[in-house]
């Protein structure tokens, strides 16, 4: 069957089960969008306000569903606007495919209108990228993009297609998508050794990360926790894998992790690191991290072994496969004394500023209490993000979407939109700060256009909170460019966008507004005026250890 390049794109997407794409049209993408018009009964296109919003939406769609997120854009600025979204997905290992159009091949390299070498730009932030200027290569590139995005350590792939290719005809034959192989390269000897370390350790702890979600290993992890009777701590990427209320759950690890988690890691004689990478926000001082412990790491990415922290035993594998093999070799154990000890350490820190009116912890807890348990929480980046990570009583996988590695302010609104399309029956709650919100609040128009009932809760402290907090503690209160004091009137601005906005000063006002918001069928903002001196605690400064922890 002869098809043009644009139709080949649509056919391959459909063959991979894609029914939703996010994007923004433009000159070089005209053929693609013309074909999309014909395929509109099979592929739903979500038009955002800005390509960055579309890229975060594709990311949020993927994180909340496990499917591959797809984003379209035109050439030049359309493509460069995707960059932050692609980089965000890359560092958090999110499978995503960006399809950009470029100028016609005859114009490539001639500084044509809206020409940019997006494959060059995205080289460091994609698992792989393709520049397709021959229509015969297009189907291969697309099929491989799905394979690469979803195999091994997942991540984004970009395909840049010249405009002539999008209209050129080529023979196209439907084929089977590549099977995604589960990496599994370890010996029984290796496994037995590791199981033996398990069986002789007295003070073990599991520290897990986003790899548990990527490998869908929750059940195996839960089984290990129960059988081996071991306390757990987790990175922000993995909130919700183990029920927050599980007594063995010590809370978040790292810079703003709980006292219990960080102290337990410090005292442990065995750290079992599952699907995680010892980032500088976890192992703040890699030489002193878990210094009394033997460290076992199971990860799919071999380059993460010994990258930041020296590992004693490792398995390179898909986590689920590795745990299935390991579980029968681990003897049932009881670590009662150890668990009693570490669960007595402080799990929740609750420090309020002197002028506290409405505290973030109360807002977050009220939010969670009044909404159904299946809600998906999305954050931007900064203080509110950490408060959300700390205070939401996470219960479900794939229901806490946050830019963990890149720390992208402005991630939230787009990601919330993507999550809503992937989960039309779930309530989406978007926590943000006044700094982050101003970065991409233009996506409100997208939420209004599609009538998405996303509730955005803005922690408005009139400052760039996290940086302000660092300046308070480490920079002698020299508040260089962090006093935002925006004059934005959120209810009025919301009205202008065509949505409902509230502004609240007390917890009662918040709860009233929130109850109303839950009844409204479209998007809502609730701006909460919080005190600028509220801090994120506890905190271990960069390079520090539990001994340097700031608790109040």
């Amino acid at each position: 069957m002869k098809l043009n390049g644009s139709s080949i794109v649509m056919e391959v997407l459909i063959d991979h089960g894609v029914d939703t794409v996010f994007g923004y049209p433009g000159g070089a993408a005209l053929n693609i969008y013309d074909t999309l018009y014909k395929y509109s009964d099979k592929i739903k296109h979500v038009l955002t306000a800005h390509e960055q919003g579309a890229s975060h939406a594709a990311d949020g769609y993927s994180r909340s569903s496990g499917k591959t997120g797809i984003v379209f854009s035109t050439s030049g600025p359309g493509a460069t606007n995707l960059v932050t979204g692609i980089a965000t997905a890359y560092i958090d290992s999110v499978p995503m495919i960006a399809i950009t159009c470029n100028v016609a091949d005859s114009q490539i390299g001639k500084d044509a209108f809206q020409e940019v070498s997006i494959t060059g730009v995205t080289l460091p932030i994609t698992k792989h990228n393709y520049f397709v200027n021959h229509v015969e290569d297009l189907a291969d590139a697309l099929y491989n993009a799905f394979r690469i995005a979803n195999s091994g350590r997942k991540g984004p792939v970009l395909i840049d297609i010249t405009k002539d290719v999008t209209s050129a005809l080529c023979e196209y034959e439907k084929r089977e998508p590549f099977a995604i192989e589960k990496l599994y390269e370890f010996s029984d000897k290796n496994l037995n050794e590791i199981a033996e370390v398990f069986n002789i350790s007295k003070r073990p702890i599991i520290y897990f990360g986003g790899g548990v979600l990527a490998s869908d290993a929750k059940n195996e992890l839960v089984e290990l926790v129960e059988k081996y009777d071991v306390p757990v701590t987790y990175t922000m990427m993995a909130a919700g894998v183990i029920d927050y209320d599980n007594p063995k759950n010590l809370g978040l690890i790292g810079m703003h992790g709980s006292v219990a988690s960080n102290r337990a890691i410090d005292e442990a004689d065995l750290v079992i690191a599952l699907g995680t990478r010892f980032s500088d926000r976890v192992a703040l001082n890699p030489n002193k991290f878990a210094k009394r412990a033997c460290i076992i790491q199971i990860d799919i990415d071999e380059s993460e072994i010994n990258k930041n922290v020296i590992i004693n035993y490792s398995i390179i594998a898909d986590l689920k496969q590795a745990l299935i093999k390991l579980l029968p070799l681990v003897k049932p154990a009881k670590h009662t004394l150890w668990i009693d000890k570490v669960t007595n350490y402080q799990k929740v820190t609750n420090v309020r500023s002197e002028n506290s009116t409405i505290h973030p912890k109360d807002i977050i807890e009220s939010t969670c209490d009044l909404v159904d348990k299946e809600a998906i929480y999305v954050t931007d980046v900064g203080q509110h993000q950490i408060w959300a990570a700390q205070y939401i009583k996470h219960k479900n996988m794939k229901s806490f979407l946050t830019s963990g590695g890149l720390g992208t302010m402005g991630y939230g609104y787009g990601a919330a939109i993507g999550a809503q399309f992937a989960n039309p029956n779930h309530r989406i709650i978007h926590f943000t700060g006044d700094g982050s919100f101003h970065m991409n609040l233009n996506e409100a128009c997208t939420a209004v256009s599609y009538n998405l009932p996303i509730i955005t809760i803005i922690f408005d402290n009139k400052v760039l909170g996290m940086v302000y907090q660092w300046q308070t503690v480490f920079y002698g209160k020299r508040y260089s460019e962090t006093i935002l004091n925006r004059k934005t009137n959120y209810p009025k601005l919301a009205d202008g966008f065509g949505l409902t906005g509230f502004e609240v000063n007390t917890l009662e006002e918040f709860q009233d507004a929130y109850k109303k918001a839950l009844e409204i069928s479209g998007p809502v903002w609730i701006a909460c005026n919080i005190d600028k001196e509220e801090r994120v605690l506890p905190m271990i400064p960069s390079g520090g250890t539990i001994d340097n922890m700031i608790k109040e």
Binding site: L123, P124, H128, F131, G152, R153, S303, I305, N306
Partner: protein, 162 residues
């Protein structure tokens, strides 16, 4: 502990392959001594030979990070005992009636070739192991060297399969 290793990478012969490798090393801050690219008997495959000087942990990271690139088919360390390294040198040196024959004598001892000769300078070609090239340059150093051009190491394993 510092280590010097020669790494051999088989890559898909596509445009931008070198950019991908160079970009990876650039952004991760890996310093390399030399890098050569050549075709193999398989037109779909090229060989990149990299010489790296640094500690073992970074070497390990280079190998593992390189392995993750889609264009990389395989990567191996060419250990000195199990491999042959060669390098090509082109060297331009001033010469005159008095010292010309001395220079030619040294070139002959090293089994190099004089590939261009004028009244005032000669160009010498020499192939060999990096040590031999270093030794030769050391010998010529007391003459007035105008220019030195080395290809960097290319290497191959002595084993049947790598």
């Amino acid at each position: 502990m510092s280590t010097r290793e020669v790494i051999s990478i088989l890559v898909k012969n596509q445009s931008n392959v070198l950019t991908r490798i160079a970009s990876l090393y650039g952004r991760r801050g890996y310093n390399i001594d030399s890098l050569t690219v050549s075709t193999t008997n398989d037109p779909a495959t090229s060989r990149i030979t990299i010489v790296f000087d640094g500690n073992e942990q970074i070497l390990n990271q280079i190998i593992l990070q390189t392995k993750k690139l889609e264009v990389v088919k395989s990567i191996s360390i060419l250990s000195p005992e199990q491999s042959i390294y060669r390098e090509l040198l082109l060297l331009k040196v001033d010469c005159n009636k008095e010292n010309r024959s001395n220079l030619v004598e040294i070139v002959n001892i090293y089994r190099g070739k004089v590939i261009s000769l004028t009244k005032n300078f000669m160009i010498i070609e020499l192939t060999g192991s990096p040590n031999k090239i270093d030794g030769f340059i050391e010998m010529i150093n007391c003459y007035s060297i105008q220019d030195v051009c080395r290809t960097g190491i290319t290497g191959i394993s002595r084993n049947e399969h790598i």
